[in-house]
Symmetry: D2
């Protein structure tokens, strides 16, 4: 159980690139990183492509004026000159820029946390991974939903054999906010997501399903995809070649099968993010819209609903618990959990504590690369006519 007491010796000096006033995701980073002020301290930022607005914004957050920088290059250069310079930077910019900023940060000897999808290609991912290793730095990927603690309960129960052998993986991350193209016409924060030059090779596959794919790996680390088939569509025509809806069928190495439905045109859907894992004797199901609950269905027995923070849950699940039973946690706690693990990883890296790094479960560079592999394989399958392709 977490109550805000420090877990690392002192908060890390932290900065953001992007995530400014108009950003949808910037506040989630800050609310996660700064949850208890014992893991990170917001020290600097290049918050906005509009430097003035970014400076005003940063000062409103309490960052001192001289550490509100016009761009990340300046920030990295100037902070490097300080004794109390930043130690870690979060990248919350459009996809296209992730790679270059991430590289620059590493070269400036900074740890990094970065938005998903991490880069455009897994190739870039492997390159950055090598650079991070060379530099001795951590790269975290902000799969924010994955911080929901009930996912760790799923992981524990699956590991303990409570559902038997995994047979079916049923994944969905859909919403309807892009049912028409009005959203990209009216929101700068959305427009770039359907521009392949900025968003990369996919829209919803990268923007949505990478989250859910990572969560599935988190809860079933022993299950790997062997081959998949992806069928993608652009229901709003001018989004093509980027998809606003896709189905993926998966064959896993152990014989399990799976499906992912990802969509931004699932009109009216307000609860379209969910994970169901079917085993040979029971199933587990979790909905993002009811994150404090987990359904456990043993064939032939009453349906069980497990509730967050109860003593019957696995200790690894309850380790991330903050507010107590009956008290709803939401997305902000999920982000706080992820960021706390980033801090622990960074601190361990700084201290050369490999044991901690080995046992710590969090979305790291490999999780980021895996997300790109997922998108690449999906796009390749779809491009070949929605056929089965080996997962490469």
């Amino acid at each position: 159980m977490l109550n805000g007491e420090k877990i690392i010796s002192r908060p890390l000096r932290w900065a953001m690139v992007g995530g400014g006033r108009l950003s949808q995701v910037g506040y989630k980073h800050r609310t996660g990183a700064l949850r208890d002020n014992t893991a990170f301290r917001l020290t600097a930022g290049a918050f906005d492509i509009d430097a003035e607005r970014g400076k005003d914004f940063g000062m409103n957050l309490g960052v001192s004026a001289e550490r509100c920088y016009p761009d990340y290059q300046t920030m990295f250069a100037e902070e490097a000159k300080r004794d109390d310079g930043i130690e870690v930077v979060s990248i919350a910019t459009p996809n296209r820029t992730h790679y270059e900023i991430c590289k620059a940060a590493l070269e400036a000897d900074l740890h990094v946390t970065c938005e998903k999808p991490l880069f455009f290609t897994s190739e870039e991912g492997y390159e950055i991974k090598a650079l991070a290793e060379e530099k001795g730095k951590v790269i975290g990927v902000t799969y924010g939903f994955s911080g929901n603690q009930m996912l760790l309960q799923m992981r524990a129960m699956i590991e303990q054999g409570q559902i038997g052998d995994i047979r079916v993986v049923d994944l969905q991350y859909t919403h309807g906010f892009s049912a028409t193209d009005e959203v990209e016409k009216t929101s700068d924060a959305q427009k770039w997501r359907v521009d392949p030059a900025i968003a990369g090779p996919s829209f919803v596959l990268g923007d949505l399903s990478t989250h859910t794919y990572y969560m599935s790996q988190l809860i079933m680390p022993h299950i790997k995809i062997k081959e998949l088939l992806c069928d993608r569509q652009s229901f709003v025509k001018n989004r093509a070649p980027l998809e606003d809806n896709a189905y993926v069928l998966m064959h896993y190495e152990n014989g399990a099968v799976g499906t992912m439905w990802t969509s931004s045109i699932n009109a009216g859907c307000m609860d379209g993010h969910r994970i169901r894992i079917v085993g040979s004797k029971a199933s587990l199901e979790w909905w993002d819209s009811k994150p404090n609950e987990l359904t456990y269905e043993v064939q032939g027995e009453p349906i069980q609903t497990l509730v967050r923070a109860m003593p019957y849950l696995d200790s690894r699940c309850n380790a991330d618990e903050r507010l107590g039973a009956l008290h709803t946690e939401g997305l902000s706690e999920a982000w706080a959990n992820i960021y706390l693990k980033f801090a622990i990883a960074i601190d361990a890296k700084n201290r050369g504590d490999e044991e901690t790094l080995k046992s710590l479960v969090y979305p790291d560079i490999d999780a980021g690369i895996e997300g790109m592999r997922w998108v690449e394989n999906c796009v390749r399958s779809a491009g070949q006519g929605s056929v089965w392709v080996d997962f490469q």
Copy 2:
């Protein structure tokens, strides 16, 4: 609104083949057909392959001893000799026998209602259809769930454009009762379902998904599948080649896409039968486990839950209403609605009332054939390596 008053001039003399004491589905036929005693009257039966047990059973239902027959051949022959002989027969036997009994019934000048999947092949379906037309008889197919009146509300709303253009068809009919092979080891009523000689070319595709496929056609009669891809598995190995789990991806002629998940190994799942139709501006979703409700989600508006029997529903939906608002209807009403329409169709056929026949919406021989086509195309796709095939 229905209250039991007669809709046809007198109840039809009705018999069953199969559906005896050990049958799972026989009671559903009787409870549907005999709901108000104004559509059908149970007059005779060859209820059981065990003639003695069948006779005892029939007598317990109130059928006179001499009209409890040892087999359908005898029944058809003997009843034909009577002035008050049966007029219509329901076939509730294992799949393999549907074709021959159906043919014999038509040749005995009987109307027929038959369990799904109708036959083994669409070829047989076309042949029987021709025979039925020659004989001037009706063939109804007992897609029992399709009698749920909220499906007619979906049909009406889609027809009226209330969800816009259809984009995504999300279908699921799954349960977990065959998670292990214990069920077929212990239940005669289940054993034959995984024997291809008796069940035909599929298990869950035929046993479950034909229901849901028909329901999707009922609510979207204007939407046709252009091509599909089916991936099927036998998680309980000795069920192979029959599948206990399958995914189907569909491409519709209008550009919509769809998916069907059907399974009998969805361990623990007690609410796995549902339909979601996503349109360009709104979605409709119905769950078999909550049949009195319909969710209507307009993008950007509050979620609406429509409840059975309320005046705001379409008159075609409320025409099948029986118990009044706040009073839950279930599967027995769905079957009663289907059987009532069978009676109306038979009566119209007898009277040569083509107008009624044209406007009446019920699962007829075409719906039965369409179910076999569905299975055939799925099996063909799966057999070729789970590839896209034109819907033939």
Copy 3:
């Protein structure tokens, strides 16, 4: 499990008084009584105060013209002359007439099933009970909802100590269909319910809460009310003195406490009929809107949802099961279960089988009297200024 096979030697000859074309409840009686045609056979009726309409209606149900009577007096007299005269009559008329029709039926040597609230006073109830005993007849009261089989599961679990000692009884039967007085202005079937001369001393207390009170007794037969306090209101003013909303607080003899909320002005509420029983270690909760489920909450353990027709349920619950697991049952099955028990009781009474009568659980004359006592005590408390009164 029920499949329609006869349980008594032959169906009873049954008639209705009231329940005609405009009745809301008549169809529920018929659908319950005639479910399988092995318990009752509809033989005669005085269906309507409008004799012509009643005759037309009865004939539409298949009753022969000469047994569609203009009034119950004629029916009782004429049927008494026949060898195949009716044996049991159901009374589905406005409350005021229950007593006189019931008395006349008993004097005509008929068994009776009657709508609730049974009569205006418990005094009348005791009188009719004595007459029924003298005549050797059964009186059943159509608390239709009480036939929901999951209530028997609650009864069994409580009896087995699965929730510990009962502490809190939380009852509610509310809806919003009388939020305004439009309903009584436009519906003859509703108008009389707010006229004390016809409805008796209460509106919703008698019309709604007697159901739920009986259901609470069904599941907790060992728990008796010691004193209660009732606070009632007429939000639509001209309904006064009859209430359209009421709260009752109960003190039970064992130290448990309870509350009943009954209302017809709970605007928009479509799921307002529910029962929660809190014990010293667990609770049970059932909602009429989800009748196939039962929630079992053990303090400190995962929430359990028990589903109808599953083998883990008590055999007394599953004895009333008809359609099989996954197949929703609704109000029509509840009525069928009640009517089947009426038939068993009547048959046992006719045969002098006291053992069956002793063990059979169904809403009998005592349940009807208890309902009137409930209303009387509530009305007395409210009349004295909503104070505590001993339950007399």
Copy 4:
């Protein structure tokens, strides 16, 4: 919409009394106050009755060692000597100490936020209110749940007449964690709650129902209780005279009626905190366990589910929105919203900005006093034999 940018010119220097390592509620205060670091800064504390543990704890939160005080008296005295001394203190100690600490804080010229129930008597409340006014200080009461923004949507819709005239107020705050006395035997954080010397005149009425009562006032500020009746029980006997279960019936001045059920022995209940307001044409219902949703039921129309952060909500509701639609908020956001309003109130008070203070809606000293009045009236009614008493 909130994104962490400052709303007041600089964060207030904030300290806590109580809320240390073993406290259940301390973390909620910190997570609320420190959400964005732009409203409060944790500067000092007397966190624990065990001074050493408190110091260790405070230092783990990042408070400097010399500002971790052994007791509140020392803290108030020492901080008063500093130029950068604390400006506001939160009191998160057992009930008995609230009054004396609050008084001492005001006398030390500090603003205060205090746990509920505020004091033992409304008399004390009026005295402290006078002192606060004299000192020009704000007192906030941490009714944390009341920060859930959907409550403001209820307030707006009621104000706009969207449910018509209020008729029924249906309140519940129950759980089952004290079903046995094990909890007070094993948890120091619970033990004092059933000791009248420390907890005051009530257990669940003060501990739970004051929250819900305040929330009802928040959403219906124009509705006042005229008289009430309270029936309270101690199911765990040695808790007497403090109740672990209570029902309250309310009569409002406008003719509306209400009920409150509060309990800590509602065994197994994990969703027992809810508010339903029934109006003459529609109802609104909110559940603490699904805080992002609001049900709006207009009689005769489809049920509507309103979802947090959607543009169709009232601007006053969305003003407190942080994470965007589809992203679940929970209790931590509710506390953050309350604390942000405390900061705004304190800042306005400091600046003499009466206009802001007048329009700001937050749980102030009057809300605290009202909670004590609620408890006092309930206890008085119960003490007189659960009779109606005028609300004084």
